[in-house]
């Protein structure tokens, strides 16, 4: 079974399989984003491949690749329960401002892709064309930006409820840091609430 899926993909799609990788039966293919859904449809329906289970869908942010329009890497993990083989499929999309960060939705191919794609949209900002209900799934609609992008500040919060002032609380709300300044986590996030979330557009 080794390399079967990669060989069949290269035979079927030729130069649109941009890159392949194979180590110890762990097979990976990078495909042209415009053929994302076609490749998946082929993998799902071909009787020799028969990838009937969508295991995982996520996205990884590579800011250094933004100049080439390949900032976000959409990663799809597939498994065939009948044939017992796996495949990892990737597509690289989007520039620094997430322009062009979109691929076709796979909800028609695997219905389970629905919530995965909503999560990827919520966390990383990839848009899935043709998704029946593409809105945030983990965060709230008022949230601005996508927290798993590398340029989202790690300490920035966007509270739904206003924090109390220390005058209202009557006690100091800052916690004593258990570590020194140069170690562990900071404990001063209250002052880092972004004053105007609408200015949080990806840069």
């Amino acid at each position: 079974m080794s390399k079967l899926a990669l060989d069949m993909l290269r035979t079927r799609f030729g130069a649109d399989i941009l890159e392949t990788h194979d180590a110890h039966g762990d097979e990976t293919a990078v495909v042209t984003p415009s053929l994302w859904k076609d490749v998946c449809q082929y993998l799902r329906t071909d009787p020799a491949l028969d990838f009937d289970m969508l295991v995982d869908l996520c996205a990884v942010d590579y800011p250094a690749r933004a100049g080439a329009g390949q900032r976000l890497e959409v990663v799809l993990h597939l498994y065939s329960i009948k044939k017992r083989h796996r495949l990892r499929l990737k597509a690289r999309v989007g520039d620094a401002t997430l322009l062009g960060a979109d691929v076709d939705s796979l909800c028609d191919v695997w219905p389970g892709a629905n919530w995965f794609e909503r999560e990827v949209y919520d966390m990383s900002g990839v848009t899935f064309r043709g998704h029946p209900d593409l809105r945030r799934i983990l965060l709230y609609p008022e949230f601005v930006g996508h927290p798993l992008l590398k340029d989202y500040p790690a300490q920035r919060t966007q509270p739904l409820v206003d924090y109390r002032s220390e005058a209202e609380a009557g006690v100091p709300l800052e916690k004593l840091a258990p570590f020194h300044d140069d170690e562990g986590m900071p404990f001063d996030r209250r002052g880092l609430v972004h004053p105007d979330p609408t200015s949080l557009e990806p840069s």
Binding site: A169, M185, R189
Partner: protein
């Protein structure tokens, strides 16, 4: 004659007359601290330790706090047990506002107290950022003994009539603070182990 204004106790025993006098607010606080109806706002893994504290081995009922009420309007103590995310924060604020006065809040565990190690976009860094909080119980999760200690600290606050948010004073043993029960002329004789073993005890 005992000066009521300076006596730190909640009851004064008059040994000759056979009745007890007290201040009304002390009586009220005594009643409140032993009839705490609780609202468990359980969101995360601390809930397992909360169940352990509630169950018979540790037995929260010994402190008059055994009755959970899943309506905030009927409850006195809000237990915030676990991590509070920014998305849950409006719900927690609403629950707190729906509770009737007098009401108290216990932050159960590190996440409820300070956000814990969730230092990110999604987690409220401590419930005192959005509601007032009386007692913080540290631990990840806290042991049941720590929870019981927190509950007794809250009872002390209630007995003092102390509504200061988040300020906890050292415990005072109520028995030692109650003159007359141990030191008076009618104080009961100590029952020793030897006496029981000798068969002299009733």
């Amino acid at each position: 004659m005992i000066d009521l204004a300076t006596t730190p106790t909640s009851a004064v025993i008059d040994h000759d007359a056979g009745f007890a006098t007290t201040r009304f607010d002390a009586l009220l606080h005594w009643a409140q601290k032993y009839s705490l109806f609780q609202y468990p706002f359980v969101t995360a893994c601390c809930g397992m330790e909360f169940m352990s504290t509630m169950s018979p081995r540790f037995d929260l009922a010994r402190f008059g706090a055994e009755a959970p009420r899943f309506s905030p309007r009927q409850s006195d103590v809000l237990w915030v047990v676990g991590t509070i995310s920014q998305r849950q924060a409006p719900t927690l604020r609403r629950i707190y506002e729906q509770m009737m006065d007098p009401k108290w809040v216990i932050a159960f565990g590190t996440c409820a107290s300070s956000g814990g190690f969730y230092d990110n976009y999604a987690t409220v860094p401590g419930i005192d950022k959005i509601i007032r909080c009386d007692i913080y119980v540290p631990g990840c999760p806290p042991r049941p003994e720590a929870v019981l200690d927190g509950l007794m600290l809250l009872q002390d606050k209630i007995a003092r009539g102390d509504r200061t948010a988040g300020v906890v004073k050292p415990r005072v043993d109520p028995v030692t603070a109650l003159p007359g029960l141990r030191d008076g002329p009618d104080a009961p004789a100590e029952v020793t182990v030897e006496g029981v073993l000798d068969g002299d005890a009733p």
